[in-house]
């Protein structure tokens, strides 16, 4: 804009300059011409030339008169002649000569005149004066030259007139030129005038626009919700909008002209503000200026400080720097933020409290359960009536259910606390699935449901994962499917997609149950939800199972989804990313004997602060034939252990005065008689939480309470390193342990009981079998029993049953009968041991 204006200015100035110059030249030229016209040397010259004729005529008259009458003196005559002659000089010199120039006619006529003049002068100047003859002679000559004089006068006038004419024509031309220039000048001035008018119009327009925009700006500033404070380079406030008035409490007229540091900046920040301003003005380096929004404190007129969010920008108007601060009072927001933080903290605290409550409760419940189960175990070793034994069994089963609930609650706290740990191992998917379905099949059969399994071909391979957790999840899903389906079938299918590293395995459990309406589909995964009110309330997995299953699945990187239609059925799908086993290097499961041939007569120290539990444990151990000493806490333990060596020390973890961890550490470090003793940690808390510190402290084993009698037997069996007897049908403890993990001890027992009942029935049937059809039926039954035996880990029984099946199919009645005897014998032994092992496994001993 300025640039454009400058261009106009230059153009206008140049135009005017040019015109003025032209005009000046013209005027000077005209003036010269006018002067030249007014000087008119020619006119006077013409007159002078014309006078020649007059003078000669006068002279002629005088001479004629003189010759005739002689009235004049000689001097008079001479004077007259001289006057006439003086004129001759005129036509020969000066301007007259210029007029005539090279004109031939003029030269012709001038020559006789000059000759006359010469001769006359000669006569006049001749000695002796002027005679009559001289006068006559002059008169004659004068008469002769008169024509030439006349001619030269006329010629002079004509030539002079012509030259004057030429000069006038020149002047006229000059006038025309000047007029032209004047017209051009007018024209140009017109253009310039138009230009000026346009410029003025534009300036006025711009003025209006500027006014409008400044009004808009002013109203924008006034209407802004943010406070806008403007200050000059010295920090003096020059602008303060109405929002600022309400934010800071200052009236506009009060604060204008005051310094920011004296008004709206809190005392503690004033020095920093001054330093910042100085630095900025000196170096121009922005610190807070132009650096976007930031939070700071400001001061109200009432003296209270409040948090603000502000943004400072600068403007540079004609070298005068000013600062514009946009200030937003964020005290409300800060308060809200604080409220939110408080609410979150409260929620977190409550959540922690809940978790802690669950942990503590599980601990607090476990401790008395420990007592109850221990006593019940002891009770069962005494001689009881059948009714008493039944009561003891009910009490034990109920206690076990209670224990499971506690364990589940603990599971939740572990998952939420991130303490859930996985123990991945290699396993065969087909085997896992088959065993699962086999175990659950009796449940389905009870309700006349068909339970089918289909594992896709590509999935019959080994994977590396925590198979116990997978089993736990699937048992829950299949168990629920059976539980909530009254008619039809439950189909279990496994398929998957092999990724580069992992396989996404998809387990689907599809039932033909009542289905779940869409509104409830997500609720089923919540804690303590059971949709089938009043149905099978005593069964496991009603409340927490599904929610735990999903949590575990998610912890494993997978998920459980539900697809259900009311009245048609439900499909629960478990998707898990599983690592494939790269090589078939899976170790054969460790099979070790955990027979009951315990090391007898050990010296045992029981360190336990709870009197009842200590007493129960003592009774159990003494019942097993061990010598037992007691200590009430860690310190007491160290004292007792300092004097006598113990084979085994049962050490409670949580005790007053000195806890078990510390006591163990000291014991190990003491170098005393018990530095190398077997220390078995006991806790009512979860195993996971204390495993690492317990191991670190030097504990050999670690056990959750309640510790059961059979667990104690197993423990001492291990200590005694007594190998298993020849007859141990219970093979892999893991198989049974897993079963118990996933099904619960009660269910496994039920399954086992059902198995042995069937086995009994099979044996009875076999004895009565006579014909071919019987044999075929027997073979079918034997086949089913073989699978069940494998599932329960009764390897010997499985082998005998397989043989029975083969013989039955071969209708080899004799061989079959013989085999039947061995089977019956084996079954009795196996059942007895199964029950024992079940009880022991239920105690969930945790080896290192």
């Amino acid at each position: 804009m300025t640039h454009g204006l400058n261009r106009y200015r230059v153009a206008i100035t140049a135009g005017f300059g040019l015109l003025l110059l032209l005009l000046a030249v013209m005027v000077a030229n005209l003036a010269a011409q006018m002067r030249s016209l007014s000087l008119a040397a020619g006119d006077n010259t013409q007159w002078s030339i014309a006078q020649l004729d007059t003078e000669f005529a006068n002279l002629n008259a005088i001479l004629t008169e003189q010759v005739a009458e002689g009235g004049l003196s000689r001097d008079e005559v001479r004077l007259r002649i001289d006057i006439a002659l003086s004129r001759v000089d005129i036509i020969n010199s000066g301007r007259a000569a210029e007029i005539f120039g090279d004109n031939a006619a003029a030269a012709r006529q001038i020559a006789p005149i000059n000759a006359f003049a010469e001769e006359t002068v000669a006569l006049l100047d001749a000695p002796g004066g002027l005679s009559e003859d001289d006068l006559r002679r002059i008169q004659e000559m004068l008469r002769d030259v008169r024509q030439d004089v006349r001619g030269i006068a006329v010629l002079g006038v004509r030539l002079g007139a012509e030259q004057s004419e030429a000069r006038r024509a020149g002047f006229a031309r000059q006038l025309l030129w000047t007029a032209g220039v004047a017209i051009a000048l007018l024209f140009l001035m017109g253009i310039l005038l138009q230009l000026l008018i346009r410029l003025l119009d534009r300036a006025a327009q711009r003025d209006r626009e500027l006014l409008t925009s400044s009004r808009k700006l002013a109203s924008t500033v006034a209407a802004s919700l943010d406070a806008i404070v403007t200050a000059d380079s010295e920090g003096r406030i020059i602008g303060f909008n109405s929002a600022a008035e309400s934010v800071f409490g200052w009236r506009r007229r009060e604060i204008i002209g005051q310094k920011m540091e004296d008004t709206i900046i809190p005392n503690r920040m004033r020095q920093a503000h001054r330093d910042g301003m100085d630095r900025y003005l000196k170096t121009g380096e922005p610190h807070v200026v132009d650096s976007g929004r930031f939070e700071l404190a400001a001061l109200r007129k009432s003296g209270e400080e409040f948090p603000v969010e502000l943004n400072i920008t600068t403007t540079d108007v004609e070298g005068q720097k000013s600062f514009i601060a946009y200030v937003r009072d964020i005290s409300e927001r800060k308060i809200d933020e604080q409220k939110l933080i408080d609410a979150r903290d409260r929620a977190q605290t409550m959540d922690k409290a809940k978790t802690r409550f669950l942990t503590v409760m599980s601990h607090e419940i476990r401790t008395p359960l420990n007592g109850i189960l221990g006593v019940l175990d002891l009770l069962k070793t005494t001689s009881l009536t059948t009714q008493q034994e039944r009561y003891a069994k009910i009490a034990t089963a109920s206690s076990e259910i209670l224990l499971e609930y506690v364990n589940e609650a603990l599971d939740i706290t572990r998952i939420e606390g991130g303490a859930l740990q996985f123990s991945p191992q290699d396993f065969d998917l087909q085997t896992l699935m088959s065993s699962l379905v086999d175990v659950l099949e009796p449940l389905a059969r009870e309700k006349q449901l068909s339970l089918s399994l289909h594992v896709a071909d590509g999935m019959q391979m080994r994977f590396h994962a925590d198979n116990n957790r997978i089993r736990q999840i699937l048992t829950n899903l299949i168990g629920n499917a059976i539980k909530f389906t009254d008619r039809g079938e439950v189909k279990v299918a496994v398929k998957g997609i092999h990724g580069p590293d992992v396989t996404s395995v998809r387990f689907s459990v599809c039932d033909t149950g009542a289905g779940i309406v869409p509104e409830d589909q997500e609720h089923v995964f919540e804690d303590f939800v059971s949709l089938a009110e009043g149905v099978g309330r005593q069964r496991r997995g009603d409340g927490l199972g599904l929610s735990i299953a999903r949590r575990i699945a998610r912890e494993m990187g997978g998920d459980i989804t539900l697809d259900s239609e009311a009245g048609v059925g439900s499909t629960f799908t478990l998707i898990l990313p599983l690592h494939r086993c790269d090589a078939q290097t899976a170790e054969p499961a460790r099979v070790h004997d955990q027979g009951v041939s315990a090391k007898p007569g050990c010296a045992v120290l029981v360190v336990e602060d709870n009197d009842i539990n200590r007493r129960v444990l003592r009774d159990m151990l003494e019942g097993m034939g061990h010598r037992v000493e007691e200590a009430v806490n860690g310190a007491d333990c160290l004292e007792k252990a300092a004097h006598a060596p113990f084979d085994v020390i049962f050490m409670d973890i949580s005790m007053p005065v000195m806890d078990g961890i510390e006591a163990t550490r000291k014991l190990r470090a003491s170098g005393g008689p018990n530095a190398q003793s077997e220390v078995v940690g006991l806790t009512a808390h979860g195993v996971e939480e204390y495993r690492a510190p317990a191991k670190q402290a030097g504990m050999n084993r670690f056990h959750t309470k309640p510790i059961r009698l059979n667990a104690l037997h197993a423990l001492f069996a291990d200590l005694g390193e007594v190998t298993s007897s020849d007859y141990d049908d219970i093979g892999d403890d893991d198989v049974l342990g897993e079963l118990i993990d996933v099904l619960g001890a009660g269910k496994v027992r039920d399954t086992g009981d059902a198995f042995f009942a069937e086995l009994q029935a099979f044996a009875d049937d076999a004895r009565d079998a006579r014909d071919r059809a019987d044999m075929t039926a027997l073979a079918e039954t034997a086949h089913k029993l073989t699978g069940a035996a494998a599932l329960l880990g009764l390897n010997r029984l499985e082998a005998v049953l397989a043989t029975c099946e083969d013989q039955a199919r071969a209708h080899d009645v004799a061989a079959h009968a013989k085999q039947l005897v061995a089977l019956v014998d084996l079954a009795d032994v196996a059942q007895a041991r199964f029950v024992r092992r079940l009880e022991r496994a239920m105690a969930a001993a945790v080896p290192d």
Partner: protein
């Protein structure tokens, strides 16, 4: 109204001239007559004119070739010397040519009543004896028609008129 003021010196001169005053003789051609409105006349010869303050300038003219030096008495000085006043002065030549010069146009040294050209007295034949000249080259205002007309030669008489 024009008056002649008689200073003591000029009064004497006046009386002396009066004896030859009229009629105009041939020898009078070399003298200059100055008359006031009342017909009183003073006649001045070369010596008298030379006795007055002199002035000179060099200029070209339209009647001569090249630059010419003129010397003589400025007309204003001359008129002051004879103490005549009026509104104009009529200048008359030997051939009775007459031209009027207003008093207003008189300058201190312009025009000059030249007695000499290039240091020589001028004969009648040579536009003498007295030639009223202007410094034409000095300024264009001296080169006007009027000034040329006022440049009277063979001056013989000055009549001061009211």
């Amino acid at each position: 109204m024009a008056r002649i003021h008689h200073s003591r010196t000029l009064a004497g001169l006046f009386c002396f001239f009066l004896a030859w005053a009229l009629p105009v003789m041939a020898q009078d051609a070399l003298r200059l007559q100055v008359a006031d409105g009342n017909g009183d006349t003073v006649t001045l010869d070369y010596d008298q004119l030379d006795a007055l303050p002199q002035s000179e300038f060099t200029t070209s003219t339209i009647w001569t070739d090249g630059a010419v030096q003129f010397s003589g008495v400025p007309l204003k000085v001359l008129l002051d010397a004879v103490q005549v006043e009026g509104s104009a002065v009529e200048m008359i030549a030997l051939n009775d040519y007459l031209v009027t010069l207003p008093y207003d146009e008189l300058e201190e040294d312009v025009p000059l009543v030249a007695t000499r050209m290039n240091g020589e007295y001028m004969s009648v034949r040579d536009k003498g004896p007295f030639w009223v000249v202007f410094p034409y080259d000095r300024h264009w205002r001296y080169r006007t028609e009027t000034k040329y007309a006022q440049s009277i030669w063979q001056l013989t008489r000055l009549n001061v008129v009211d």
